[in-house]
């Protein structure tokens, strides 16, 4: 390739290789069958004890959580035919301490939430915290596994209405494979919703330099800028695979003192939500 | 511009006596000479502020030149009593139970209400007898006080009238004679006690005194006046009509007023000494053969 190396890492070349013949793909496919990166896991284990401290290093995640629900509501509202409004099943992958999982379990429209995370310490924190709320009993299940360890659903009833990947995909070494593995868990007509960070000079500045080094509101080493994905890459991936529709994007910006705010267009440079719907059969 | 604001305030018709010392002029009811309001009491002459100021100035000058013009002194007193001082005096009366009774009963002091024969017949050293003796000694009667004309508030006009009529009682209380020196000393006492500006202005008359009289004033009578006037109870609150048969020293003690050195005695002694000196000088010059 004669073009100079633009901020596109080898990992994203992987996405582009989706269209290549399989033998070419096999050249580049990772050897392990797990999407989990051990470095990431150990990093988050260290953060386990502060996960639920509202003024600790996870404060930004807490502040972002309401927007996740707004986004999911927006996705459901955009459906041409309204879907079920009760007994929804959620699968939260990479649930961490359970910020989103607990909040999803509390919604009246939720039937059950299954939340998984590969990090045992963080999951222990999540379980201990969930015990503090009697209202969550029976609605929330935590499993210490990666997506590969989850048994495949055998019927529509075992599939999920909403599969959530909040602040997860930027920690995955081989995102395309990972998304392939997730796909069967979603019901027809169900949604994958995720939040991640665009890969741009702005996001490098804000999430690495400012957030991690200067203001220190995000623990050092949390993010690897190389792993950020842009929304057009995600869109491209899903729409090329027949079977997905209605991509939705919402860019959000963190303003110190005011919290996270929805800012149209900011998905090009910073944090954003991405949702995509599986075709109804 | 100021006139227009006043007209608007007139329409507002705010209560007059609820004014603070640092009076906001917008609130005084103002009128022009062509449109005088009706009098508030018999004898009342409403004046504009300019007229009042003119009256104050004119009567101050004239009464300095001729202190026997009682009417001018009276006018000066009325013109300078507002806006604050007569209200303060009235409030001092309202704060005291006896003062309130006086304001309710509105007693007047004149030869009609006080019988001189009765007063003369009272025992020695009673208030009434001292008063009668003093009137006789100085050759004055209780009817020499003029009526209040220029104070707008009816109740304050009575307060001024009462103050004026009681003036002779203050003479009796302190024993100061009617000569200019005595009057000035009494005015100093009254200022320390009632705070009426006219009393202070009257003390400027010491410029007309002789040197030895002035020295006496600074040395003896001013300190006495300030000390007693300030420390004693408000003399305006004394219900004189009820105190006539009382022992005057007892009243003085109750009020906290000391009798100053008797001025007439001092003056008489001084005159005798001066006459004796003159005699001695004449005899000395005679013996030397100088005519």
């Amino acid at each position: 390739m004669a073009a100079p190396l633009r901020p596109t890492s080898l990992r994203n070349l992987n996405l582009l290789l989706r269209t290549a013949p399989r033998f070419v793909q096999n050249q580049f496919r990772a050897q392990s069958t797990s999407s989990v990166n051990p470095e990431e896991v150990s990093h988050f284990n260290a953060l386990a004890s502060t996960w639920w401290d509202p003024h600790g290093s996870s404060r930004l995640l807490h502040l972002m959580n309401p927007l996740r629900h707004n986004f999911i509501r927006g996705c459901h509202a955009s459906q041409p035919k309204p879907g079920p409004t009760s007994n929804l099943r959620y699968l939260d992958i990479g649930c961490g301490g359970g910020i989103f999982a607990e909040s999803a379990a509390r919604l009246p429209s939720t039937g059950s939430v299954v939340a998984i995370d590969p990090s045992p310490e963080v999951l222990a924190v999540a379980k201990a915290h969930a015990r503090r709320d009697p209202g969550l009993q029976g609605k929330l299940t935590y499993l210490n596994t990666s997506i590969e360890g989850l048994p495949q659903p055998e019927s529509v009833e075992e599939q999920y209405d909403v599969l959530s990947l909040f602040e997860v995909i930027e920690h995955i070494t081989h995102p395309a494979d990972f998304l392939d593995t997730c796909a069967p868990f979603v019901k027809p007509g169900g949604w994958i919703v995720m939040s991640t960070i665009a890969r741009s000079w702005t996001s490098w500045l804000t999430t690495k330099v400012v957030a991690e080094d200067i203001a220190r509101i995000v623990p050092r080493g949390t993010h690897d800028w190389e792993k950020y994905i842009n929304e057009e890459e995600l869109r491209g991936y899903f729409l090329r695979e027949r079977g997905w529709n209605s991509p939705r994007v919402m860019g959000v910006v963190y303003i110190p003192g005011l919290g996270w705010k929805e800012v149209a267009g900011s998905e090009k440079v910073g944090n954003y939500f991405f949702g995509i719907r599986k075709d109804e059969v | 511009m100021a006139f227009l604001i006043r007209q608007q305030a007139l329409r507002g018709a705010l209560p007059r006596e609820l004014l603070a010392a640092c009076a906001i002029s917008l609130n005084s009811r103002h009128f022009i000479v062509l449109n005088r309001p009706p009098p508030n009491y018999p004898g009342h002459v409403p004046l504009t502020r300019i007229e009042k100021a003119g009256l104050a100035l004119g009567s101050a000058v004239m009464s300095l030149m001729d202190p026997h013009r009682g009417d001018l002194i009276a006018a000066l007193g009325e013109a300078t009593a507002t806006p604050y001082f007569i209200y303060r005096l009235r409030d001092a009366m309202l704060s005291d139970p006896t003062g309130r009774r006086i304001l309710r009963d509105r007693p007047r002091i004149s030869s009609k209400t006080l019988s001189m024969e009765y007063l003369r017949a009272l025992p020695e050293n009673t208030v009434g007898r001292t008063y009668a003796d003093w009137l006789d000694r100085e050759g004055v009667s209780p009817d020499t006080r003029s009526e209040v004309q220029y104070i707008d508030n009816e109740e304050c006009a009575y307060v001024m009238q009462r103050y004026r009529e009681c003036h002779d009682f203050y003479h009796a209380l302190t024993g100061l004679p009617i000569v200019r020196e005595g009057e000035i000393a009494l005015k100093a006492f009254e200022f320390a006690n009632t705070l009426l500006p006219m009393t202070a202005l009257s003390t400027f008359a010491i410029t007309t005194l002789k040197k030895n009289e002035r020295d006496r004033f600074w040395k003896i009578y001013l300190p006495w006046a300030v000390k007693n006037g300030a420390q004693s109870k408000e003399v305006i609150n004394v219900y004189w009509e009820e105190q006539l048969e009382r022992d005057v020293d007892g009243l003085r003690a109750e009020l906290g007023v000391e009798k100053p050195v008797d001025l007439r005695t001092i003056r008489k002694a001084e005159r005798e000494r001066w006459r004796a000196e003159k005699e001695a000088k004449k005899r000395a010059s005679d013996s030397l053969g100088i005519n």
Partner: protein, 496 residues
């Protein structure tokens, strides 16, 4: 049991130290109370302690909002609420505890569906306020002048209403909606923490223990329990302020008419005396309610007077000079006579002061001490404070009850947001929005009323003139006056 600050610290540290260590700490503290904790607590989403206007408003709002209608809520109140329910007085009798409701509070009460249950024939809207200085006579007149001029009729500034009328209306709304477990005639014996069990860990949950042994575990414990709030004491939140060394004397008065403007145009009057402001606020018909803030000694004196002399003192308070008033306060009786004499010699504009009081309702003369208090914060972990538990204010601006309603409106909004976004409504992070929205605004109002009180206690000197000039200036500056009126009504621009 008054919690030590150690317990507060323990809770705050709960997220930093491992659960077994914090368990140890808690066990050490709980030693002597373990016996009663054998009864399993009933779990509620919201337990509101206090059945006054703020507490009842909160429950009515939570029940009437669809988002929060599924929350399990309970009310704990020490008094007998049936008295409130059965509130019924004839039209010529009024309770002596009345409050001025701002249009903003009325709008909120209407939104939650409680206003329709308030007896309107006992509510009096007033369209004008006359406020003046007792020393200098400087005056400010409030009314929505522009509306009157534009022919849109007279817009009320606020509404005078008996507190019992309001609470009875709120209780009716709660009964209408149902779903609230009301525990009245129940004293709160103790507030502690829950325990850990097999299924659930309630060590961070406040548990209210009632007299009968019943235990209520609250996801969110709301303290609407007045100035000496036990909930606030439990949460370890300090409340700071000072006593004004004044008592507010209240009474229900009958005046010689129904106001200079008649029933259609009622006026509220307030005169600033050096000892404190005296206010006469209109009620329907020929009735008014008196709120006279004065020194404790003078308040005691007023309460010893015969009705005739009391009425004379009230009339004197609005007409005579402070000198006369001071003298009349020294009399044991005979004020009626004194008043009629002095009134002849005092000038006042009859139309701009209240009509003469001619009667006082028997048994309605009472007094209460005035103070300023502000809690350091309104929220804690699983605790929120509303109303007098959070702040106490001087009554001179008629804002106290309205502040409580504003608190409730904000707290309900915060809870609604938490529920619709799956948050745990009791967690301090979920409650932050409430504190942010209400704390600064309340603080400012408390401060303003405090400074006004201090400004008007000055009897002489340059400050009297300055404040009079200031008052007259504001009176003549239409837009500024309108701004102040809108702020007081709660309908103005939000500046904090």
């Amino acid at each position: 049991m008054k919690p030590t600050t150690a317990s507060a610290r323990t809770r705050q540290l709960g997220n930093y130290i491992c659960s077994s260590c914090s368990h140890q700490l808690r066990r050490q503290r709980r030693g002597y109370a373990s016996v009663t904790q054998s009864i399993k607590p009933s779990i509620y989403d919201v337990v509101c302690v206090g059945g006054g206007p703020a507490g009842l408003s909160l429950l009515a709002a939570l029940r009437s909002s669809p988002a929060t209608a599924n929350l399990k809520v309970a009310l704990v109140e020490s008094q007998d609420l049936s008295k409130t329910r059965d509130f019924l007085l004839p039209p010529n009798q009024f309770s002596n505890r009345c409050s001025s409701l701002t249009p903003s509070s009325v709008r909120f009460l209407d939104t939650i569906g409680a206003w329709k249950h308030v007896k309107k024939e006992r509510v009096q809207g007033y369209t004008e306020m006359q406020v003046w200085d007792g020393i200098s006579g400087a005056r400010i007149e409030f009314d929505w002048h522009a509306e009157k001029e534009a022919g849109r009729g007279e817009r009320p500034i606020a509404f005078m209403n008996e507190n019992l009328n309001l609470t009875s209306g709120l209780l009716k709304r709660i009964d209408e909606l149902g779903g609230v477990e009301i525990m009245d005639r129940e004293r709160v014996e103790n507030i502690g923490f829950g325990e850990e069990s097999e299924e659930v860990d309630l060590r961070m949950w406040p548990v209210v223990e009632l007299n009968g042994g019943r235990r209520l575990a609250a996801r969110l414990l709301v303290g609407a329990d007045g100035a000496n709030s036990p909930v606030r004491a439990f949460s370890g939140i300090e409340s700071r302020g000072w006593d004004y060394e004044r008592h507010g004397v209240v009474a229900t008065l009958e005046t010689e008419g129904s106001g200079w403007g008649g029933d259609a145009s009622k006026t509220a009057y307030q005169r600033f005396l050096p000892t404190g402001p005296v206010a006469m606020l209109p009620l329907p018909g020929n009735y008014s309610t008196l709120v006279w803030s004065t020194t404790p000694a003078l308040a005691a004196h007023l309460k010893t007077l015969s009705p005739k002399d009391f009425i004379a003192m009230v009339n004197a308070a609005f007409r005579l000079s402070p000198v006369d008033l001071a003298y009349m306060h020294t009399q044991a009786s005979g004020q009626a006579d004194e008043f009629s004499w002095r009134a002849q010699h005092t000038e006042f504009d009859m139309q701009r002061i209240p009509q003469k009081a001619v009667g006082v309702q028997e048994g309605s003369i009472a007094s209460f001490p005035l103070k300023l208090r502000h809690a350091d914060t309104y929220i804690g972990e699983r605790v929120a404070l509303v109303g007098d538990a959070a702040h106490t204010i001087h009554p001179l601006a008629g804002q106290g009850l309205n502040q409580g309603q504003g608190d409730v409106e904000s707290l309900v909004k915060t809870i609604e947001f938490a529920v619709t976004h799956g948050q745990d409504i009791g967690v301090e992070m979920s409650l932050e929005q409430y504190n942010v929205e209400r704390y600064a605004a309340n603080n400012m109002l408390l401060g303003v009323c405090d400074k006004l009180h201090k400004l008007y206690t000055v009897e002489s000197g340059p400050l009297v003139g300055l404040r009079s000039i200031g008052l007259r200036a504001i009176n003549s500056l239409g837009p500024l006056k309108a701004f102040l009126m809108a702020q007081a009504a709660g309908t103005g621009v939000k500046i904090l």
